[in-house]
Symmetry: C2
Subunit: 201 residues, 2 copies
DNA sequence: ACCTGAACACCGTTCAAGT
DNA sequence: ACCTGAACACCGTTCAAGT
């Protein structure tokens, strides 16, 4: 009778990793139902825990959203690093791989990406800023190497990196908002790469 | 006694333009407090009307958000057209003016722009799609003229227009999310214009 | 340390009923 | 046509209390 809440438990709820379970469930809900249907009480219910229990791990709803966003930044930056590494030594191939990975992440995690780039109403947590920094660093490293090799368009290097970042994010926004069909994505990426790489000739 | 709800009424509530009053108040709330604090009940309260009254004009909360987004698209496209017209005959100046206007709109209406480009969960209303079309047409016209005059980079014209749109939206996203400081905006726009215009020489 | 249970002040949405 | 008032099923957040 006191084991009621362990009905569907092979997962070790109630001891240890409630925080991780909440985050995992939250990400699933975010992907499948959208941010509007994401409620702390529902997450607690699905974790078999009282509605006040999440408060130990996330002081309020925004804290959970911030944690989701931070995890998103880390995962996207890891995927970008891997894609760039797999692309070999050709800078244009690296650029194309990075852009493709970024847009694919955007289409598969539309609500999460939106959350990651939500207008910050107040100050963002340090963890969230760090996570964004990881993403920026992933893009930055690639672009910096390409610039040093003289493969990119001229212009202020820092701004050019930001601009490339902005272009990827912009394409992602158009795709997830439905303004651009998935069939146009590859062409858009190709044009963007052409635009940024030095067409020396 | 039956005039209770007209306490602060010089506005003609309760007769005629509740819809417009709700939209105006909603946009103010969106700008000042963010989308999370935007509630139909609160809007009704501020309009001096029962909480069920808005239902006549907006079937649900999403309908009101869609109407806000549509109005945003129309206003932004109007501002873009005006800025382009004021910029004269030089295509690069037009491009710079359009980008500046777009980013300024983004910084002043961050929450609204986010709403405008929110990932569509289902189908979007026809009115919303039309409004987006107006925005796209505003950008499109300018770019098309520049392309015909041979002032832009080569590449598939349709995709180049989308790419330019994406770049503006991407810069806007980085600015409103706080990833790019307002001091870097002008430089970013300048670099973007340089990138897109044909540096023939 | 981590969680419960009740309570408070809100929501969106629905629906019969009023004018 | 447009609006009211009560009702329903939810929220997030707080807090004393339990183990």
């Amino acid at each position: 009778m006191q084991c009621y809440r362990a009905v569907m438990a092979d997962r070790p709820y109630h001891h240890g990793n409630l925080r991780a379970a909440l985050l995992a469930e939250a990400e699933r809900t975010l992907r499948e139902d959208g941010i509007d249907r994401l409620s702390l009480r529902d997450l607690a219910r699905q974790a078999g825990v009282s509605h006040a229990a999440p408060r130990r791990h996330f002081p309020d709803r925004q804290a959970l959203l911030d944690a989701l966003a931070a995890a998103g930044f880390l995962r996207l930056s890891d995927e970008l690093r891997a894609a760039i590494e797999d692309a070999g030594d050709d800078y244009e191939a690296q650029l194309r791989a990075a852009a493709t990975t970024y847009i694919r992440f955007a289409t598969r995690n539309a609500a999460l990406l939106e959350l990651m780039f939500a207008a910050k109403r107040g100050e963002q947590s340090a963890a969230l800023q760090d996570a964004f920094g990881r993403l920026y660093a992933a893009v930055d490293g690639m672009v910096r190497r390409a610039q040093q090799a003289g493969k990119l368009q001229r212009g202020d290097p820092d701004r050019l990196r930001l601009l490339l970042f902005a272009t990827m994010q912009g394409i992602a926004a158009l795709v997830t908002s439905g303004a651009v069909g998935s069939g146009q994505v590859d062409g858009l990426i190709a044009d963007a790469v052409t635009l940024f790489t030095k067409s020396s000739g």
